[in-house]
Symmetry: C2
Amino acid sequence: MNKIITLGREFGSGGRELARRLAEELSIEYYDKEIIAEIAEHTQLSQEYVKNVIENTPHSLFPITIGQTFAYSHDYTIKQMQTIYKAQDEIVKSLAEKSDCIIVGRCADYILRDKDICRIFVHADINSRLERCKERITSGEQFTDKQIINKIKRIDRNRARYYEFYTGQKWGDIKNYDFCINTTNIKIKEITPVIAKLFK
Amino acid sequence: MNKIITLGREFGSGGRELARRLAEELSIEYYDKEIIAEIAEHTQLSQEYVKNVIENTPHSLFPITIGQTFAYSHDYTIKQMQTIYKAQDEIVKSLAEKSDCIIVGRCADYILRDKDICRIFVHADINSRLERCKERITSGEQFTDKQIINKIKRIDRNRARYYEFYTGQKWGDIKNYDFCINTTNIKIKEITPVIAKLFK
């Protein structure tokens, strides 16, 4: 069995950076946005469309349908979601078979639940996440703290909804992870070698 | 500042064993039941009484009092609880000042919240905890699985209630810890050197 690490993360927690640095430190593969690209290739849908379906559904799967047109469009959305999730499931499994790797998000902890993997969840308090997001803002962009916090909450709400819909589990619940790491007031660069020791 | 680790744990998760082994591996002090003994000495109450107050209150702090006798007894209980918690608060702070150590339970993560500490929470699924409890049963004792599971749940309910009452925080919520460690299907002896690396 390969050394497989899955990493879920709150937006702005530095989880993605930790995953990237961990992969580098452990000399293993790192998969994140690459999976969206692969899903697009598998399903012959555009990357933008796949990203949109993943990030914005399921908002409401059982709306009160008014007239047949809406019902058809609703069925179509569900089918697209199923196609995309099926591709995601296959890709994640095949990446885990291929070599040691770290997979960010994509319900990988659930998809690989029967394998001997290490499931990490990274989180931080809201101020710490706000500061991290502000550091990433490129010059020219102007956002208030309130706007950034609203964005953090919206993205996390979508991640939670997506995860819970496909796994039936609560996103960010300690039960579903082997290690939950709090990155409040922590520099990811500094914590990486410490966390890497867990896998050496 | 000393190297201070606080460790909260679900009953049967092996958290106490992990704390003991970690202290040994890191050559630092280990405090667990010793704190009860110190509280008893400070308050001049018996260890048994202190243990009982800690493990069984607050069941209901604001009952509908019927007549004055009950009200007096209720006031007395609250005063004893306050005395015991105050002693606990002072002892935990003084242990943390003294030397590097690991402190099990006792709301130490909250009491030392203004210090630079590492807060661990150890948990496991119910089957894994059941198995650990069964291993500890001495010959002659006979319990059904259901009885053991009920005991696990009762103890954890009390721990959660105690922690939440004094800290205003949710026991076992990832937000309150730096590392949450899942010990499901894991031998504590084997995971200890791995976790110890985080502190070396």
